[in-house]
């Protein structure tokens, strides 16, 4: 049985294109467990290290939300890399 504190294997990486992102905040609403907003509104990963700011690890349950975020991002700044 897994405990909430145990790190889970990432099922995909949400890639953020920083040249396009303007911090409109739709992705943070759709992936509240994975993303938070910094003080300027840009998305930051809630889990993982500082190196994972551009490719945010997502658990399996978040892949649907990620698909919505990718489709709805007003700046087309998001993409998904699935992990095997």
């Amino acid at each position: 049985m897994t405990t909430p504190t145990e790190p889970r294997r990432a099922a995909g990486l949400l890639h953020i294109d920083w040249t396009a992102c303007e911090g409109r905040g739709l992705c943070v609403e759709l992936l509240p467990e994975a993303l938070d907003r910094d003080e300027w509104g840009y998305p930051v990963a809630r889990r993982g290290g500082p190196g994972e700011r551009t490719d945010v690890p997502l658990v399996w349950e978040e892949l649907d939300g990620a698909a919505d975020a990718i489709a709805l991002c007003p700046r087309l700044a998001l993409g998904l890399k699935r992990l095997p």
């Binding site: 409109r24 609403e29 509240p32 087309l76």
Partner: protein, 185 residues
Amino acid sequence: MDEALWAFGRASGFLSLGLLTASVLLGILTRSGRPLLVIPRFSVALIHRNLALLASIFLLLHVGSLLLDTYALLDLADVVVPFLGAYRPLWQGLGTVAFDLLLAIVATSLLRRRLGARVFRAVHWLAYAMWPVALAHAVGNGTEGTSGWFLGMAIGSVVLVGAAVLWRASAAFRGPARAGQRGLS
């Protein structure tokens, strides 16, 4: 049957314009990066899109029913080529212009991810031209276009959209980064 097509053509045009007005207002709101009261940003974006698609469906019904109607005297060319109409060609032509603009806006929106942000945004700006043209068509061509109740609603929508555009151009437009976030959790 003709009476029904005529009535339906008028009502669907009115509905389409109303839905377009709401969609334009929500489009400006969603561009600001703000949620709408308790409605989160992604929902504002979805409602904006769905209202626009619903407006497009009613617009197709508006054009389609009046095309079949023998009183409106429309032919197929009038659907896409403006200012050729038999009845009030200028005002009818404005409707055709708005129809063509909306067609371009909807097509580029549906293909947004394929076309890229630059093309999408450039074409989407046409909405600011499409809406007043559509409104002018309704006032100038509609049977009720110059009646008191319709002019009242038209002036009301011009005030609302005008205020939204002024807000869009103002420095306060971009939403505060973290506002509304607390309300969600």
